[in-house]
Subunit: 90 residues, 4 copies
């Protein structure tokens, strides 16, 4: 996971700034719908981060686990993906 | 919107700290699935903020708009709710 | 709700046919990803139905409730919208 | 995919009946919020079907693809999972 983590960290720094921006909007009594548009944009940005992390996870840990002869490692890798898949919809 | 905005700002400060925590997890090469669990928790926290903002919006702006004799104000208020409803699923 | 319900019923008839189509795909041992693409399309079609129903609801029942002097009718209308909004994300 | 497809087909038959039930609700001018509660329940049922299909897919096709020496098969399997993951949120 170490190689290409900087782009992910940069995306999260941007999310952090975005969250601070929404706090300022609330302090300035911005229109509710405009605030909601910004929090939705933050969730979209987090979803993009999730997709990138999942992609890396599938290419590394999951590939190793599914290639392994260790059945419990394989079952565990699949159970974790299904857990994230289910939680993503909630 | 001015009355009870402090609890919302506090929730967003907490989200901001959570996002910084995920950056540290990435720097420390945390396990991908553990990182995803945290970003999902952040999205849940943002959804709670959205629900509170929408509740306030319905109780104030939307109530005023739907009581108004101004048809375009009413149509606009409804169109905005449908926009947020559709975007929430995306 | 009686006026324009036929377009909604037609959309649901189409969803029903789509669901039967997925059953046939399973019987014919279609590729899993192709099946998932179809079930996702069905969910998108149901979301469109939901948006149309919500739009009508806002234009009729909610408008009446928010214009009413009855506080509990108004509170109830808002609570129901928030319930649907929260459930939509789940 | 052939072994345990009958439980999935049964779930989809149940979804189909549920969709017909919502058509009847519309014909009988049921309350909008009650209709929305049912369409949300249908989407939940479809999500459960999706999770079961994805589980099977990970245990069969994806396991085979990730174990294969064929790089393009492996890349393709991962790209398809990411596609479904992204579409699920939309």
């Amino acid at each position: 996971m170490s190689d290409d983590k900087q782009p992910l960290i940069n995306r999260l720094k941007s999310v952090e700034g975005h969250v601070r921006g929404v706090q300022r909007m609330l302090e300035d009594d911005a229109y509710c719908i405009d605030v909601l548009r910004q929090t939705l944009a933050i969730r979209r940005a987090l979803e993009k981060v999730d997709t990138l992390i999942l992609e890396r996870h599938l290419n590394t840990c999951v590939t190793d686990a599914l290639r392994s002869v260790d059945h419990s490692a394989r079952d565990n890798a699949i159970a974790e993906i299904l857990e994230i898949f289910a939680a993503t919809r909630d």
